[in-house]
Structure formats: structure tokens, C-alpha cells
């Protein structure tokens, strides 16, 4: 069953581009990644799903119901964590959580305490006095306290230290095992990679591809940078699977996909002074999708 169905969703703001003709589905029980650079339209899509903004054309269904028409009904089962969290500054943490819980017709006190414990959040503090990271933790507790069936996260990890990020991911995995579906938007591929089953890649307001993480990993690109003692022949690294090859004096750059042993052997045969093998960043992955489209 599809928890989210997005059909030809388009949103334009005056003349500027929002999102164009976006379609994808998120299945029940999935952790679905939604990645793209800043300004690609991730937040626009998410805000439309939450009926904060209204689509210009197309529609989206959540739990099989139209996300605008049945918004209040649907939102009972949605937990949302925005990229930047803002709450009523003069309230105490616990009061805000109680206020948040009062919108859902169930007792969430126990769950609030549990989540605050996991996320190490001080319930007695004033919101105004919280650091950015602590506000984010409050956002997480606030988004999960009513045990939603669908968790929507818009760049949730900014401001969290690695330890908290780890705890947060574990929390998401637990919720997921209990049956919650997660839509996770991010511009960092690595965090999506470790958590998600499938990802949609969005660029400039359009979906570039929807793929399984396992497929993406098969497409695993490595970025090579090699510094050699002597200038190399331009064709030396021109192997199958090498792209964007650049040779400048003693420095060689390229992206590689395929069997790593071949390249490493090639490197071993040269007299090198240094070598860097890195994960390509998102931009470079996108480059790959653009090349494929052409």
C-alpha cells in the first residue's frame, strides 16, 4: 500500500520555479529518502503534503486521501520535523509538548518522558534558553510524541551533534520497525544512504530519478585524486568506468565506477606521492544523472 502518492504535483510562485510535475510514491513501512541540493524543491513538496501551501496543479494523497481536502484528518497521523524549529519562546519545554499533545486525542505524557530521556532533553527549561541543538531535540520529541504512522522530516539533522544524530537515527529505525513510514529529506547523501530503502532525487524542481539505495550503491562512484612524481600520459587512466578525467601536470582527477582492483593496480604501477579516494559529493552524483539523461 502507498502511504504517500504524489501525482504530477506542480507549484509555481509567481514567475519563479517551485516544483514541476513531481510524481512518486512512498510505500507503507518504508524509510524513503528525498534528496537534492538546497532550493531544489524538497521543502516545497513537503509543505504541499502538509497543506501549508496549495498546489498549482496535480495532487497528492496521504493514506489514500487527498492531502488538501482531508488535511486535518490526515495530520492526526503525521509527525513533522521542519529543518528549522521555532516554538513559542516564552513557554517551558514541557508546556509546549503538552500543548502539542493536546491536539491529539490521546495521553502522550508517558511518551514525552520516554522520548525526552532518549534525546536527553531537559523538560524544565524555557524554550528561549535552548541552544540550536536542544531546540532540534525538542522538535524531534514534538514530532514523535503522538506516535504518528507517517513521519516527515525536512533536513532533520542540521544542528545535531553526531552522538545525538546516531540516537535520532536509532529512534527512527525503532519507529519504523513498529510500522511507521518515514519520508526523510536531506541534501547529504550519506545519511540517507544508511537509513533509507529508496530515494527520490530532485533537482531544479523536478524528480531526476527514484531508485533503490542498493541500486545507487551499485552505481557507487569513487572520486580519485592522484599526485604522481612524474607527469603522466593523458591516456594512462582512461579505463572503462572512468569519467570526468582531468590530468594537470602531476595531478590526476577522475570519477570511477566499477571494479576497484583494476584502478588500484594501475595506481600501484605508477610512482605516486599521494592518493585520495573519496565519496563523490551530491553535485557530482547529480552530474552523473544529467549525463545519463542527455
Amino acid at each position: 500500500m502507498n502511504v504517500i502518492e504524489i501525482n504530477h504535483l506542480t507549484k509555481t510562485y509567481g514567475k519563479s520555479r517551485g516544483i514541476t510535475d513531481i510524481s512518486f510514491n512512498v510505500e507503507e513501512g518504508e524509510i524513503f529518502g528525498f534528496i537534492g541540493p538546497n532550493g531544489a524543491g524538497k521543502s516545497t513538496t513537503i509543505r504541499t503534503l502538509l497543506s501549508l501551501i496549495y498546489p498549482t496543479s496535480g495532487n497528492a494523497k496521504i493514506f489514500g486521501k487527498d492531502c488538501i481536502e482531508f488535511a486535518p484528518d490526515i495530520k492526526k497521523e503525521i509527525g513533522y520535523l521542519p529543518s528549522e524549529v521555532f516554538y513559542y519562546d516564552n513557554m517551558k519545554v514541557f508546556d509546549l509538548l503538552k500543548y502539542s499533545a493536546s491536539f491529539y486525542k490521546k495521553d502522550c505524557t508517558k511518551r514525552i518522558k520516554e522520548l525526552a530521556e532518549i534525546m536527553d532533553l531537559d523538560l524544565t527549561k524555557k524554550i528561549d534558553d535552548l541552544s540550536l541543538g536542544n531546540k532540534k531535540k525538542l522538535g524531534i520529541v514534538q514530532g514523535l510524541l503522538h506516535e504518528p504512522k507517517l513521519i516527515i522530516l525536512d533536513e532533520p539533522t542540521s544542528g545535531l551533534d553526531p552522538l545525538m544524530q546516531q540516537k535520532f537515527f536509532e529512534l527512527l529505525e525503532t519507529e519504523n520497525q513498529k510500522g511507521a513510514t518515514v519520508l526523510f529529506s536531506s541534501h547529504i547523501l550519506s545519511e540517507v544512504q544508511r537509513l533509507c530503502n529508496r530515494v527520490a532525487i530532485i533537482k531544479e524542481g523536478a524528480i531526476v530519478t527514484v531508485e533503490k539505495i542498493s541500486t545507487l550503491q551499485e552505481n557507487n562512484y569513487k572520486k580519485f585524486k592522484i599526485h604522481t612524481k612524474t607527469a603522466l600520459d593523458k591516456g594512462y587512466f582512461d579505463l572503462p568506468g572512468v569519467s570526468q578525467l582531468e590530468v594537470k601536470d602531476h595531478l590526476v582527477h577522475f570519477l570511477f565506477r566499477g571494479n576497484l582492483n583494476g584502478v588500484l593496480q594501475k595506481i600501484a604501477e605508477t610512482d605516486i606521492t599521494n592518493v585520495w579516494i573519496e565519496e563523490p559529493d551530491l553535485e557530482e552524483i547529480f552530474m552523473h544523472y544529467y549525463v545519463k539523461e542527455d
Partner: protein, 265 residues
């Protein structure tokens, strides 16, 4: 109900401050009444020296200024102004504060419709204003009883005092419709002071020229205390105009807010 209570609590502090200011102005004016009354002859002579148009603009009516209701009427021109600023502030901020403090995302991703949100907020603002008027009215009644030199009509006193609430409701409605139309209000006080004073001055000009059509342009003059005193009641045409304006402004606010895109911060 939860939004209503939350909002009511949020306005508590400002309501108390506005209420105290209203009472302070009222007490200040009314405490002057005994000496005004004693030296009525000299004051009349002095005030007759002022041009008539000026007297009209600031609502000075020498015929009844030295009766307690006449004097209260005169103080009300200022008290209503302060009350209007309170109401306009409330109206302008109840919706726009969510955008300014960036809490709209929190509230509107909850399982509530936008009209529920507006209703709860309006009700909270309305209740704040009613509470303000009840306590103010009690204080004014107590003060008037202290300084009175002759008996006065309680009905008249109530009609006059309630003009504060009616003007406040008008400005509450104007404030809320402005706040949903303008995309982002950076400073509520700037918007509300500008609006309230513009209408106040239109009202003053109208009073000077005696132009009846100008009177429709200023909500202050719909429940003009000196006219209430003159007619011993409200004027139906203005009551209806006021009610229509409130009705249109509130419905427009619901409509616009329901259709509005809530943009990310």
C-alpha cells in the same frame, strides 16, 4: 479549545497592561472633575476663547462639560483612542505573530483546520477585550460615584462606556483582515498606530467640518460619545454600518487565511 486557552494566556500580560492604562487615564480625568465643576464659570470663559472648530475637533462641548456625564464623555474621546490601539494591536498580531515568530509551521501541521485556528484566536481576542471592558467599566463606575456632584443615568453611563468595546471590535476586525492580507508584518505597533491615528484624524476633521459622509469613514465616530450623549442612545445607521464592516472583515479574514500559502521562513 486548547488553542483558545493558549492564546488567552498569551495575551494575558498585554491585556493587564492595557487595562491598567485605560483605568489610569480614566482616573486621571475623572479626578479633575470636582475642581472643573467648582470653577465652571471661569473655565467656560477660558474655553470660549478657543476657536469653535478646535473645540469640536477635540470633542469639547461647553453645554454639558460641567456635568459628570459630559465630562466623562470628553474623557472618553481619549480612552476610546487607547482602547482602539489595544484592539488593533490584538487584531493585527493574532495571525501575524505566527508568521513573525515562525510558529505557523507548528500550529498548522496539527490536525486542525485553518478556520478552527482563526476562530480560536478571534474568540481569545474577543474574550480579552470583554474582560478589559468589564473591569474598566467597574472601575469607571466606582470612580464616577466618588466624584459625582449630582445623580446621573446608569443607562447613559453604560451606553457611553460600551462605546469603547464597540470601537474595539471594529478595530479588532480591521486589524485581523489587514494581518491576513499583508504578507509579513514586521512591526505590529507601526501598522496599528498608523491605522488607528489615521482614522482618529479623519474623525477629527469630520467633526470640525460637520461633514456627515466623513463620519462614515472613521470608526471612532460610529459610537461618538458626544453624539451618544446628545441622542441618549446609539444611531442605528452607524450601528448597522459598524456591524457590516465587522462582518465583512471577519469573513474576508477566514476566506483569505484558508487559501493562503504559508511560506517557509
Amino acid at each position: 479549545m486548547n488553542i483558545f486557552l493558549h492564546e488567552l494566556k498569551a495575551y494575558r500580560k498585554s491585556t493587564i497592561i492595557w487595562l491598567l492604562s485605560l483605568i489610569a487615564i480614566m482616573v486621571l480625568f475623572m479626578s479633575l472633575f470636582p475642581s472643573f465643576h467648582k470653577d465652571a464659570g471661569e473655565f467656560t470663559k477660558l474655553l470660549e476663547g478657543y476657536p469653535e472648530s478646535l473645540r469640536k475637533a477635540i470633542g469639547l462641548d461647553l453645554n454639558n462639560l460641567f456635568t459628570i456625564m459630559g465630562f466623562y464623555t470628553y474623557s472618553l474621546t481619549f480612552i476610546v483612542l487607547v482602547g482602539a490601539i489595544q484592539a488593533m494591536n490584538l487584531g493585527t498580531s493574532i495571525v501575524s505573530k505566527e508568521a513573525r515568530e515562525k510558529t505557523a509551521d507548528f500550529l498548522l501541521t496539527k490536525p486542525v483546520t485553518r478556520s478552527t485556528v482563526i476562530t480560536a484566536k478571534l474568540m481569545a481576542a474577543f474574550v480579552s477585550l470583554v474582560i478589559t471592558n468589564i473591569i474598566y467599566g467597574a472601575a469607571a463606575y466606582g470612580m464616577a460615584s466618588q466624584v459625582k456632584v449630582e445623580d446621573y443615568s446608569l443607562k447613559m453611563f453604560l451606553l457611553l462606556s460600551l462605546s469603547i468595546l464597540w470601537v474595539q471590535l471594529l478595530f479588532l476586525a480591521i486589524g485581523i483582515v489587514m494581518s491576513v492580507m499583508i504578507r509579513k508584518i514586521k512591526s505590529v505597533l507601526t501598522v496599528s498606530l498608523a491605522t488607528v491615528f489615521s482614522f482618529y484624524f479623519i474623525g477629527m476633521i469630520g467633526a470640525t467640518t460637520g461633514d456627515a459622509s466623513l463620519r462614515y469613514l472613521s470608526p471612532f465616530k460610529y459610537f461618538d460619545p458626544s453624539e451618544i450623549l446628545k441622542h441618549s442612545g446609539y444611531e442605528l445607521s452607524y450601528v448597522i454600518t459598524g456591524a457590516v464592516i465587522i462582518g465583512i472583515a471577519i469573513s474576508a479574514s477566514y476566506y483569505v487565511y484558508a487559501k493562503k500559502d504559508i511560506h517557509a521562513v
